[in-house]
């Protein structure tokens, strides 16, 4: 999923300061799963914003909506009935959702209420960790199902570097050494010999380095 964390309330208040009527829009997808911008978080933020405004002697009108998918024009269209009643939109979706609203409603200011983080997985209750960088040319089949691009701090394709200590990365003992994990998996799979094959330098064109990416499916378009 795409993970996100809510921005500090002070920052959000600053973003919406000039406006009296706000449409606060959540999303039912990833940000709901990572508890950053689903229906529940929309409710909580709405109350917090109204209370904070009241303290400043200001009345803030907040309308709440949570869309099925904010990155999908079909669902964003649902805002049409409400958009004229507000001065600005505050989105709790990831950056894709914020931009979809900006694209659809060209004359309405839209602000992010969350910081979009990374593509990751839940490690345990309340903990998410990065797993994929979307490089556009997946090598997980060569690395025992563990991505060195997303999970090695130096994204080494031929690790581990000289800073791997007791299974942890040199940058932080909380971070697993991706190459220790890869090695452990290769061993478990009986694929140790694969380690010594040099992984060639990556062609980053399939990643963000090739410019903004798009997928066109002729069969669906």
């Amino acid at each position: 999923m795409i993970t996100a964390e809510r921005k500090p309330i002070e920052e959000i208040l600053e973003l919406i300061r000039p406006y009296g009527r706000i449409l606060l829009v959540g999303c039912n997808e990833c940000v709901t799963v990572c508890a950053a911008g689903g229906r529940k978080e929309v409710g909580l933020l709405s109350s917090a914003l109204q209370m904070a405004s009241m303290k400043e002697g200001k009345v803030l009108d907040v309308k709440e909506m949570t869309l099925e998918r904010q990155c999908d024009p079909e669902y964003v269209e649902e805002l049409i009935s409400t958009i004229d009643q507000v001065d600005a939109v505050l989105s709790m979706a990831c950056g894709c959702g914020v931009q979809e609203i900006a694209r659809r409603f060209k004359e309405k200011p839209v602000f992010p209420a969350v910081n979009t983080q990374f593509m990751g997985a839940s490690e345990r209750q309340g903990v998410w960790a990065e797993r994929c960088q979307g490089c556009g040319n997946c090598i997980l089949g060569l690395t025992g199902g563990i991505c060195p691009i997303a999970r090695c701090s130096k994204r080494l394709l031929n690790g581990p570097c000289g800073g791997s200590t007791a299974g942890k990365c040199e940058i932080n003992p909380q971070v697993d050494c991706a190459w220790q994990l890869i090695w452990d998996r290769l061993k478990a799979l009986g694929l140790e010999r694969r380690y010594e094959e040099i992984m060639p330098a990556k062609d980053w064109r399939t990643s963000r380095d090739g410019g903004p990416r798009r997928i066109t499916r002729e069969d669906l378009a």
Binding site: L156, N158, C161, G163, G167, E170, C177, Y195, I198, A201
Partner: protein, 318 residues
Amino acid sequence: MMTNVMTNVRTNVMKTESTLEKVLAAGQLAVTSECGPPRGAVPEKVIEKANLLKGYVDAINVTDNQTAVVRMSSFAACLLIKQMGLHPILQMVTRDRNRLAMQSDIIGAYSHGINTMLCLSGDHPCFGDHPMAANVYDLDSIQFIQMVKNMRDEGRFFGGDAILNPPKMFIGAAANPFADPFELRVARLAKKVKAGADFIQTQCIYNLAKFEKWMEGVRDRGLDERVSILAGVTPLKSAGMAKYMKNKVPGMDVPDEVITRMSGVPKEKQAEEGIKICVETIERLKQVKGVRGFHIMAIEWEEKVPEIVKKAGLYPRP
């Protein structure tokens, strides 16, 4: 005519004009040291440090924004050292440059007669003075070695185009026998050798038993015949430094007995003890088959290198 023939014979054997390559090819124990460039436009500091090493080492590593702290560029400092008639080793990390920048710097350096380099990935920016900087890591150190070898032996840029007067670099790489997992450390060296490393400079050695065990693995695979291993040593200035190295420097292995020994002498005698340990380490490493020389990293203590080289019986240099 005779001279030409001789030159040709030598060219056939040698890959480069590197002095380090010549010393190693002659079967002599090589000695290298390093010089960290200054944090400002003070070329006299580079010259001062290099002068301390002059005559005592075969080549001088020049670090590239070591520990991710901004310093004068390795290339610029190498050039100053080259102009003194000494032999710099251009260190380059993949952290700060993509493959375009690395290749242009390599041909630039070679254009000034710099013919030896050390290919590294580099410390992560989080350790340095610009933790907010983007890290590049377009290549890793092994792919970097491959690229430099390809530039030299095939005369091609990474992208495939021919290079006019390809840079003939004698290619170095690092090895840390003390990092985890230990069982991969020989295999990773093998990858660097396969990629094209000509020489290796190791992480500082304090745990001799572990280093010897690693070298055993290296010899078992015949890697010592294919690459020249220079054993890394760093003299300890104090017991405090020993503890710091043990606890704070990732991938560093300082056994307790070294710390006990340093702590066991009065503070004013600790530096002397550190030099003694360093010299003893070199003496013991000379007995390890496959060790072809020493890389003495006297961190901000370059003035002690001559003493270490002399006491370790490595003086005069060829």
